[in-house]
């Protein structure tokens, strides 16, 4: 035990930091940049740099092992570190508290986030003539409508990340030629970023953005890059999410999404074959593979669920962590999930691979950017396996292609990991979700009740924050020991460094002398050979400042068509002390502004409408005043400028079809309609046409025209099933989206006729007598849409032909192109011509799609006598040692000239068979019996040979017997203990018996109250409501065998800590759900723990607190409490 404690104590030791004389110490923010080669066969490179507080950038090489103590390189990204650097390599690393990188805090925040990127188009002066795309095209590629980057990330994040407010500017001419900053194969990213940003600085207020995309007119080197960096523009050194893109940004929209993913901190994912860009299940692996219809652009699918969870796109309540036992869950589709309680990710720990490794499950291939994936089903990733990528697709068929259907689990399929005792079965698809059954063996683990804490204090405060959480070891026995230690240096003190069984982990935080910032202080609780648990503690030390008012957009300018209205949303931020209780109010005297939400407390949203009815065309300027009455805050003045334009008239002329009927699988159909814009601004107004509603069959073209023009679009039936697909085309103005109209369009998809082509429509053969064997085959090729998966069947009308049997397949039924082999039945054929036909039909139809005519010529000749049997193989089962006789019969068939007179005899190898009719004449029955007396359990095989010596003919029957052991209920008499109040399940097993599964029942005794016996699953399950020992006799019946077994079920009571019970009662840290249920069962059983339950529990425990217990209780709930009046 001492050795274990020492081992864990060492594991919690933080790395020493002692720079040597020749080393340089660097303190600053650690930035990570991923280098992605444009040629996908090449490997990516991960690069690091540190930016100190003065903006100086130091490139450095850091290893995963150096970062291991802080959760790895992914976790250290954008955090403050102290490095000892020698010749560009870090020789020592230490995280520095507090973490002040605002970008890191922003990326790890919960809830919806608004992240604004500025995209800068920059030219190298030595390639000044090269312009790979227009500003308008770039605005679309980075914009908020499909397939722009804003639209992509909004869909991927399920609305949690908005890139609204992002802008594109350029082209700018940089000062340095490409040759100066790309000296070799690696560009100086920091230099080109500073050069490009400086060129745009006059137009861009960088303080308004969290990210910068640099798009260059010529490849910056071999690669595209994504990550983070720093700029010293518009008010000090700031960290920004950054991407460096080559002209590929005008076509590879998936690459834009990929690099922005890196800028958000995501690492690569991949298949499990050592490559990086081979998984289409994640844009962070394979980015550009799905064509955007009607363009030369490409996109990728969604980010995988592991990445979404990292970025908090998946809320904790939709993340299922599988504990030991059996679970049945619904896993919602990952793309555009429904607003329900279904899970979006399921995680199953796999500790035998490593302490922090697990599997993830996600439902993919349905809707949105996931629609082009190869199919719909469950994708399994393994996370934490090390290497260059964070998660790896588990390719279930192992065919070296992790992106094909072989990586999908579909209904009826299973994924098994025998090492961890994990089975995942897809039961069915339910709408856009999949019902899964997870069987997880009891891998030991440590759990923490509510494993996150957040504290906020004001800088300069002098206090000690004391807190605690319940530690529960699972799967290790009640006396399992555990240790606890902090992972980072800082103001945290761990009061409980070890414990046994369930117990409280206590800690304290001293705030004295702490500077402003965020202090992350994780405590790791571990037990030998188990999955550990981390308590994530965050202390935010805030400045003691006056409240401050700010708005996102102090001035706005828009255009709107006369008569229209537009609503404005302008976020209001109140920061500083007392910000939560500061009330603000907005006022204006402009009559054309109507307030919708003009007041709030704390940060909120200012909303108002601009109403232009009654306003003549012209420019209108309104002043809004935002003030906080009752405070000393200075009011803010907001300027809203509105250009009211003359009204426009819309007309659709030269409309083509409004309803088109196509055959399933047909090629896309082009169509167009002309939109006429009248009015003064008609010729200068840009407009867009996009599809609203319906399937994605309507694909308009971008960008929208300016002035009157054509909408060219295509109706793409693709793989749509036959049906009617209505859609609406929304046409709206670019600068005033409220100016819109809709055009209805309908696509009717009809089923395409199926056809079948045969490799030959005529087959023939000739034989002499019955001595020959005759078979033939034909290749069947279905035609028409979906032909590769069309099922068809073959019918033989006259019975001349026999189709060969194939295991598990209906003999005459196939799918898609396939060979059909057939054997001609030669028995009793008279000499001459015989003609037969095979008809080919759809499985569910009766229309004959093709016919094969087969001819057989039987030449005259001697008809030799042959022997055959009606069955060549027999199989049966008997209990080993049983004296019961099992009889069987087959027909011996004699054919040929004088077959009725031929005499045959039978002989057996006599391992378990004995003949009843050892001989016969002509076609006659052969009978024998079997006995398992004296047989050992297992398979036994006998052969019965039938021969007619007079004509030299023989045949053989192979008889197999499964001699099974006696049926028994296996496992221990003493069943695993159930915990009162906690879910319990114990599956009974049987051994021996015939192959049919046994039927279970309770023969005698009664289970503890709350537990029931599920006979179908042979499982005792439920929540025990009373403690004690219970004897139950179970019965298993299979065939003629019956087994009875007396079993002992024990229900124990959990040990609750007095302090924890009282703390729960008084509104403090709640007990676990199981413990609360147990407490209620002690008392009035009204479904919730209350003071009556606590009283009952105390009485049952005969709880009279000792002085030591009283002291422990007081340390949890507060100050000492005298019991008696003095």
């Amino acid at each position: 035990m001492l050795t274990r404690v020492l081992t864990f104590a060492l594991a919690f030791c933080l790395p020493a930091f002692a720079p040597k004389a020749q080393e340089v110490e660097v303190v600053g923010t650690l930035h990570t940049v991923w280098r992605d080669p444009l040629r996908r066969g090449d490997a990516p490179v991960r690069m690091f740099s540190v930016t100190d507080d003065s903006g100086r950038v130091t490139p450095v090489v850091v290893t995963e092992s150096q970062a291991a103590a802080y959760g790895g390189l992914d976790a250290l990204n954008l955090r403050r570190v102290r490095l000892a650097v020698e010749r560009g390599r870090a020789t020592a690393l230490q995280e520095v508290q507090p973490r002040t990188a605002r970008l890191q805090a922003f990326l790890s925040a919960d809830g919806p986030r608004l992240m604004r990127y500025v995209t800068l188009l920059c030219k190298f002066p030595d390639f000044a003539d090269v312009t790979p795309g227009t500003l308008a095209d770039a605005e679309l590629n980075f914009g908020q409508v499909y397939p722009g980057a804003g639209h992509y990330w909004n869909e991927v994040s399920d609305g949690q990340l908005s890139l609204q407010g992002s802008i594109v500017r350029g082209w700018y001419m940089m000062t340095e030629p490409r040759s100066a900053n790309v000296p070799g194969s690696y560009a100086n990213l920091d230099a080109v970023a500073r050069d490009c940003a400086a060129a745009a600085d006059a137009d861009v207020d960088f303080s308004q953005f969290q990210g910068v995309n640099f798009v260059f007119n010529y490849p910056v080197d071999c690669c595209s890059y994504g990550g983070s960096g720093s700029l010293s523009l518009d008010g000090g050194v700031r960290s920004y999410a950054m991407t460096w893109l080559s002209p590929v940004a005008f076509q590879g929209l998936g690459t834009i999404a990929h690099e922005i993913g890196h800028s958000l901190g995501l690492n690569h994912s991949s298949g499990s074959y050592g490559l990086v860009y081979d998984s289409r299940w994640d844009v962070m692996s394979s980015p550009d593979w799905a064509p955007v219809p009607g363009t030369a652009k490409f996109v990728g699918a969604h980010v995988n669920a592991y990445g979404k969870r990292q970025l908090n796109f998946i809320p904790a309540e939709r993340d299922f962590l599988a504990t030991p036992g059996t679970h049945e869950i619904l896993l919602e589709r990952s793309a555009l999930p429904g607003s329900n309680n279904n899970y979006l990710i399921a995680r199953i720990p796999a500790p035998r691979f490593g302490p922090m490794q697990y599997y993830t499950l996600e439902a993919r291939g349905i809707g949105g950017y996931d629609a082009p994936l190869v199919g719909a089903g469950i994708v399994v990733h393994r996370v934490g396996g090390g290497g260059a990528t964070s998660s790896n697709v588990v390719d279930l068929d192992g065919d070296f292609d992790p992106s094909d259907e072989g990586a999908l689990l579909t209904p009826g399929e299973e994924f098994r990991d025998p090492l961890h005792g994990i089975t995942v079965r897809v039961i069915e698809r339910v709408g856009d979700a999949f019902r899964l059954r997870l069987d997880v063996a009891a891998n030991p683990m440590v759990t923490l009740a509510s494993p996150q804490r957040l504290y906020r204090v004001t800088a300069g405060s002098d206090s000690v924050l004391v807190d605690s959480a319940l530690v529960t070891p699972i799967g290790m026995g009640e006396e399992a020991g555990w240790t606890a230690g902090k992972l980072m240096s800082g103001p945290l003190s761990v009061a409980t460094t070890s414990g046994t069984g369930s117990g409280m982990l206590r800690w304290s935080l001293r705030t004295t002398g702490l500077a402003e910032g965020v202090y992350d202080q994780d405590i790791r609780v571990a037990a030998s050979g188990s999955i550990w648990a981390d308590m994530r503690i965050r202390l935010v030390v805030e400045s003691a400042t006056e409240p401050m008012l700010a708005v996102l957009a102090p001035s706005r300018r828009d255009s709107v068509i006369a008569g229209g209205a537009r609503e404005v949303f302008n976020p209001v931020t109140v920061s500083g002390d007392g910000s939560d209780t500061t009330t603000w109010i907005a006022t204006t005297s402009a009559p054309w502004i109507t307030m919708v939400e003009d007041t709030g407390t704390g940060s909120g949203m200012l909303r108002y409408r601009r109403e232009t009815s009654g306003l003549a065309p012209g420019m209108y300027v309104a002043q809004l005043t935002l003030s906080a009455p009752g405070t000393t805050l200075a009011p803010l003045t907001l300027i809203d400028s509105l250009e009211v334009l003359e009204s426009l008239a819309w007309r659709v002329v030269e409309r083509g079809l409004t309803r088109e009927t196509v055959i399933q699988g047909a090629l896309p159909k082009l169509d167009s309609m002309r939109v006429e814009l009248d009015g003064r601004h008609g010729n200068s107004s840009q407009w867009y046409a996009i599809q609203r509603g319906g399937q994605y069959y309507f694909v308009p073209e971008f960008p929208g025209p300016v002035g009157s023009g054509w909408v060219r679009f295509r109706r793409t039936p693709g793989d749509l099933e036959p049906g009617i697909y209505p859609a609406r085309i929304r046409v709206h103005l670019g600068f005033d989206s409220s100016q819109e109209f809709f055009v209805e369009d309908t696509l009717v998809v009809t089923a395409a006729p199926i056809g079948i082509t045969l490799s030959s429509n005529v087959t023939r053969d000739s034989v002499r007598g019955v001595t020959s064997f005759s078979d033939d085959s034909v290749f069947v090729q279905p035609t028409g849409p979906g032909s590769s998966s069309r099922a068809w069947r073959a019918m033989n009308a006259r019975g001349l032909l026999a189709f060969p049997l194939a295991a598990g397949v209906t003999p005459n039924q196939r799918m898609g192109p396939a060979w059909l082999r057939f054997i001609r039945n030669l028995a009793d054929r008279t000499p001459g011509w015989h003609v037969d036909t095979i008809q080919f039909l759809e499985v569910s139809g009766s229309q004959v799609l093709a016919t094969l005519i087969d001819s057989l010529y039987v030449a005259p000749g001697p008809m030799l006598t042959t022997l055959a049997t009606s069955a060549a193989r027999r199989r049966s089962e008997l209990r080993a040692g049983s004296t019961r006789a099992l009889e069987d019969t087959v027909l011996v068939i004699a054919s040929g000239d004088e077959s009725e007179q031929v005499q045959w005899t039978a002989a057996t190898s006599s391992r378990f068979t004995s003949l009843i009719t050892p001989s016969g004449n002509g076609t006659a029955a052969l009978r024998w019996s079997r006995s398992a007396a004296g047989l050992a359990p297992g398979w036994h095989v006998d052969t019965i040979r039938v021969s007619a010596a007079s004509v030299g003919a023989s045949t053989m029957i192979v008889d197999s017997l499964w001699a099974y052991a006696a049926l028994a209920v296996s496992g221990a008499t003493q069943r695993p203990a159930a915990m009162m109040g906690a879910p319990f399940a114990d599956t009974l097993r049987s051994s021996g018996g015939p192959s049919a599964p046994p039927v279970w029942s309770i023969a005698d005794g009664a289970l503890p109250a709350g537990l029931t016996f599920n006979a179908a699953l042979a499982r005792v399950q439920g929540i025990a409501e009373t403690s004690g020992s219970f004897s139950v006799t179970v019965r298993a019946v299979a065939g003629a065998d019956t087994a009875l077994r007396a079993l002992e079920f024990v229900v124990v009571e959990p040990t609750l800590i007095a302090g924890a019970v009282v703390e729960q009662l008084l509104g403090g840290t709640p007990l676990s759900e199981d413990q609360r249920r147990y407490l209620d069962l002690q008392g009035n059983r009204n479904g919730r723990p209350d003071i009556g339950d606590v009283r009952a529990w105390r009485r049952r425990q005969a709880l009279t607190l000792t002085a030591a217990q009283r002291a422990e209780l007081d340390s949890v709930i507060g100050s000492p409490t005298p019991e008696k009046k003095p």
Partner: protein, 138 residues
Amino acid sequence: MKRIPLRTLWLALVAALFSGSCADGPTAPRPEPGSLIVSFTTPNVDDRAAMFTVVLPPGTTTGSPVLSASGLEVFHRRVADTLRVAVFGAIPSGELLRIAVPDLRQVPRMTVSLLEVAAENDALRESFSGYTIRVSRP
């Protein structure tokens, strides 16, 4: 016109000074430290546990509750300005406990609410009809 004697004027001036400085001048009220009383009235004779909250004026410090009757046990927990108290034992009607506060004049600003009462059989009282709980000055 009758002339006022100089001595009379001097006396009037002295009187005016005294009356202005002592009798009518503003004086800040002083805090009255002490222990407030929590009283409990029950229509039953078999109350065995009760829990209630006392909401205090912001910033009010409190001492630990001190029971006024023997045979009881009390636990308490303070979160922000709310004190939650649980009492176990045969609870009679009358003064239940006392809590030290820095200023008894704040008692009218305090509110006390009964949350749960358990009977001898551990069942919760379904109704608080006939129950009262209040805070008062001694």
